[in-house]
Homo-oligomer: 382 residues x 2
């Protein structure tokens, strides 16, 4: 298997982007990424998107986006794994380059969510519709149950969970493209309107529009691009049961743990080697469970570690320097690609005021639904 | 790049399957394929499905189907490219095995269409919604325009187009799993109710439920499986503009021609080497245009060749021995996989009364929308 590099990265602002359609968003990000890579070649495309059929009445993004990017006849498919669609698209593109079949492949993600009225209903299609969605459970409800289980198992406190939101909003202040650029306090999180007890409004990622794209390439093309060499050092993916009721433990993310184990093994890296990470904080509790599953902190220590500043930009393992899904925004299909965008930006030393100095090893963790699917990618500056 | 083999194949009947849900369908096909392959290992899964969000309110098939197959924690993603989703899933699985990352990967497709009222509206999401769908064009309308263009450019006659339906229904009589197992005549096609002039009801593939799965493997695992060795000799994919209005010629399928050129080059095969083919006959005219784009007959000769029996089981290039989308049925996400299922069955010599004797090289051509995306796979008996 050949080495694969990320040689280009492009992103749109995330937010309520009334003046941009789905195709506008993706094309903007993809053009940025191609310009950044500066190679005059494209052999394939993968686009992560969760539910354009429900959100904007458009499937067949493969043809649509190759067309509007001006890339026809380049092959393209859409990859979907709910909110892990972006990570899945990146993984598929990785295999195409690693196999030797292609030299330069674009992987990205897009979601246009704010044109649609019933976003919560559309997102519920990532749960088990027969056993969860149709009975009225929404995603805030599912993560609320996971939060309760974590609080019961480990004594995780409400203010520890709120600390995640406070930190990620703080980081987003340094990210010009973030959706929610406003400083918040633990008290504000804990007194914001209840959504699904114990989770409140400021525990939830916003509904955002946005797109992101990355260019993957073989070593020969990576060297042509003249950008800092960022190698995909290890990849991992896994599934879990789609419904919460089928899991033995609601307080852990087994698919994330398994995907991470594969990525660590493939890269010969350990959790303590990771210097910067983007994790899937669709709700505050998700970040606490993710940093445990990734081995950054011990099981049950996610709450105290978050409150104690271990995941802040100055801590031993800075998490979600971009602002995370919580504050950067969460256009679901774009999220997995946007996490890798942030890691690439950090490893290149181009993260401006939120730069983690000397970061050479980074990790991006993306997941779908309540953790039914997960991808983990470890990247290294060569 | 390593050689990749198809070592297992499973399929459900196609039709109005009221007693089976989407998950039931996929699990049945996947279990059959795994049993056929007889290897106790699975490293990854790809599921083609066009629009489960619209058809049954369920996205995140990756987790759902890995879960219900009992395959958790095996990684899985859904691949979507409208009606070319199955071909796209197979292609992605091919890269994963070819790269050396995995030994045994399942690729399949599923669609549960008959639970939903507005199937035509859901299928229209494969067209350009902004410029086609929202203005009232449906897929029968788009293919009717292509048929008119073909008739004008090449003098293709109505009875030549009807001959495709007659042949494919004839073939379906020999396929126990086909949706429409009824003999029809050219006169019946031409006097069936008009849908979009010049296309009539019997020019259109039916709306079907169904699933299909294939197991791809490295050479080492292919030899373990003890099944006839069917190698993926060449693959190709391409895109075209999503909207018809942007094409220079409505009477040809450029994405199919480009995908075929790649697959022929990769396999060092020419059109005349192909002994059996499954092509994407969502409408009768589509088969005529496909056999031209694949080089089986010259440009404009698709009509006379079809009427003249050149694509019948006894002709020089048997096309759609399974009954094709037209008569076997067209559960859109499953179709690309089901085409490869038929080719594998033919190359193994297991096609019963519809067997093409001595077939060692076969081709499967899948496309999305009005030809905005296409895949071509050439398989060979080793």
């Amino acid at each position: 298997m050949r080495d694969v590099y990320v040689i280009g990265a492009g992103i749109t602002p995330f937010g309520e982007l009334w003046n941009m359609s789905l195709r506008d968003l993706f094309v903007a990000a993809a053009k940025d990424a191609m310009k950044d890579a500066a190679v005059g070649r494209l052999d394939g495309m993968y686009v992560g998107s969760m539910s354009p059929g429900l959100f904007v009445g458009q499937e067949h993004l493969s043809s649509l986006l190759a067309d509007y990017l001006g890339a026809v006849p380049v092959p393209c498919v859409r990859v979907e794994s709910a909110c892990a669609s972006g990570g899945g698209a990146f993984r598929s593109a990785f295999f195409e380059v690693a196999s030797g079949a292609s030299e330069v492949v674009l992987a990205g993600g897009v979601e246009k969510m704010t044109d649609f009225a019933d976003v919560t209903g559309a997102l519920a299609t990532a749960s088990d519709q027969e056993y969860e969605g149709y009975h009225g459970v929404t995603f805030p409800g599912l993560y609320a149950m996971m939060a309760r289980a974590h609080m019961r198992a480990y004594g995780t406190a409400r203010d520890e969970i709120a600390a995640v939101a406070v930190k990620n909003h703080e980081n987003a202040l340094l990210n010009a493209g973030a959706h929610l650029r406003v400083r918040i306090s633990v008290e504000q999180v804990m007194s914001s309107p209840p959504v699904a007890d114990p989770l409140r409004l400021l525990d939830c990622a916003p509904v955002s529009d946005g797109a992101c794209a990355l260019v993957l390439a073989s070593e020969a093309y990576a060297k042509q691009s003249k950008r800092p060499l960022v190698r995909v050092a290890g990849i991992g993916a896994a599934t879990d049961t789609i419904a919460l009721h089928a899991r033995s433990d609601l307080a852990s993310l087994e698919a994330v743990a398994r995907a991470a184990a594969k990525a660590y093994a493939a890269s010969s890296r350990r959790p303590k080697d990771v210097q910067v990470a983007e994790v899937h904080d669709c709700f505050t509790i998700a970040e606490i469970m993710a940093i445990e599953a990734l081995g950054f902190v011990g099981r049950g220590r996610g709450g105290p570690a978050s409150k104690g500043g271990e995941t802040s930009r100055e801590g031993p393992i800075p998490v979600n320097t971009s602002g995370g899904l919580k504050a950067k925004g969460h256009p679901v299909g774009a999220t997995g690609a946007a996490q890798i965008f942030e890691i690439v930006t950090q490893l290149r030393g181009e993260a401006g005021k939120r730069q983690i100095r000397g970061a050479r090893v980074g990790l991006a963790q993306n997941m779908g639904g309540s953790g039914g699917s997960a991808t983990v990618h470890i990247l290294e500056l060569v």
